[in-house]
């Protein structure tokens, strides 16, 4: 297809050749051109047929013998292994059991020790926690009592200035003697304009002008 020279001089880009058998994929049906093709039966001469049959028979006999030999050996081996175990099994099992029990006891003792330790620690921690809690509660209660007593003291202090039926007349007299007028306004400079002296209604002409502009 391509000349050797063309390939050597790289006038054609090199193409990669993949080694693949020219076969149809297995899932495709028989090719159209091969549908009615009948493969020729191989012709084997009588001599060859007989010889092949003899050889195959020989081979099968030999293989059967070998397979049986090894199968028997396997069975024998398994049986001997099993019988050996059955003889010694009692003693071995008892030994194994004792060993297991001993080991288990050892483990149990260790675990018990660990558990004691842990319990002690846990109890101590719990005690500490409880004490701390109780202390905090006491502190809180004390603080509340303190606060309440403070309040009571304040109230008592205040109660000195309370008006009682005995001091009522004196208080009335005092109030009448010193009237307090809150009806005032304050401008930015802090001047006080007392309400009772300043007229609250604006002058009449201003009101008219305001009405006219509306």
């Amino acid at each position: 297809m391509f000349s050797q020279n063309a390939i050597l001089k790289r006038t054609i880009p090199i193409f990669v050749q993949t080694a693949s058998a020219h076969r149809k994929p297995r899932w495709l049906p028989v090719a159209k051109s091969k549908i009615y093709r009948i493969p020729k039966r191989p012709v084997i001469s009588e001599d060859e047929k007989k010889e092949l049959l003899r050889l195959h028979n020989n081979y099968r006999t030999q293989m059967r013998a070998i397979k049986r030999f090894y199968f028997d050996e396997l069975v024998k081996e398994m049986a001997s292994k099993q019988s050996a175990t059955s003889e010694m099994s009692q003693r071995l099992e008892a030994e194994e059991w004792l060993r297991c029990v001993e080991l288990n006891d050892k483990w149990n003792a260790q675990v018990a020790l660990d558990r004691e330790e842990r319990r002690k620690q846990e109890v101590a921690a719990m005690e500490e926690y409880t004490l701390a809690r109780m202390e905090a509660k006491d502190k809180e209660l004390k603080a509340r009592i303190e606060k309440a007593s403070e309040k009571i003291r304040e109230e008592k202090e205040l109660s000195k200035s309370f008006i009682t039926p005995e001091t009522l007349d004196a208080a009335i007299d005092h109030a009448i003697a010193n009237p307090t007028d809150y009806n005032f306004a304050i401008d930015l400079k802090g001047n006080k304009y007392m309400g009772r002296d300043t007229p609250t209604v604006p002058p009449k002409e201003e009101k008219v002008a305001a009405a006219a502009s509306n």
């Binding site: 493969p39 013998a65 030999f69």
Partner: protein
């Protein structure tokens, strides 16, 4: 009517004859008591035939088959048990023996078989490599070494077996060996050294 032209299509076969149903279905009482044979058994010099004992037809899905029980005579030896033919009944390989030939065929069966004096061996010598391997293997496993490098030989069970298998230390008439053996057709081994 012109003679029908038979045109064979497809692959060739070694079978020769009809299927069992083709024979049995066209006979009176489904051919019970008649004798049939297969062409593949004609390779043996001794008479091989089967006498029909019972016939059972099959459902429509298995229209090529038929269930037939036969008394089988294989290579001139009548088998003690009745054989069922079902799986192979579809094979177009059966032939009906005409009634006038039946007597002759039955007379050819002998009470003592020709090959009854042949004794098959029940042991065989090991291959060379296996001997060496076993010696080493036994050494490795700490087992006692084998004195005789022979293994027992087993045969498939078959009612058709003509030869007897040796029992105990009986001397067999045939000896099997590991190796090529003696060729039947020496012409094929021309120029090949055989030992």
């Amino acid at each position: 009517m012109a003679t029908p032209v038979i045109k064979y299509v497809g692959r060739t076969t070694d079978f020769k004859g009809k299927t069992l149903w083709e024979i049995v279905g066209s006979l009176k009482n489904l051919g019970v008591g008649r004798i049939i044979t297969r062409s593949v058994f004609e390779r043996y010099p001794e008479a091989t035939f089967m006498k029909i004992v019972k016939v059972e037809t099959c459902p429509d899905e298995e229209r090529r088959r038929v269930r037939v029980w036969v008394e089988k005579t294989f290579r001139g030896k009548k088998q003690p048990h009745i054989t069922e033919i079902y799986r192979t009944s579809y094979k177009p390989d059966y032939r009906l023996i005409p009634k006038n030939e039946e007597a002759k065929l039955l007379a050819s069966v002998k009470t003592v078989h020709d090959k009854s004096d042949v004794i098959l061996p029940n042991r065989i010598e090991m291959p060379v490599l296996m001997k060496k391997f076993i010696v080493k293997d036994h050494e490795k496993k700490g087992l006692a070494p084998l004195e005789e490098f022979v293994m027992p030989l087993s045969y498939n069970k078959s009612p058709s077996r003509m030869q007897r298998i040796a029992v105990g230390d009986e001397k067999p008439t045939i000896e099997f060996t590991m190796g090529l053996g003696k060729p039947i057709s020496p012409a094929l081994y021309e120029g090949v050294p055989l030992n």
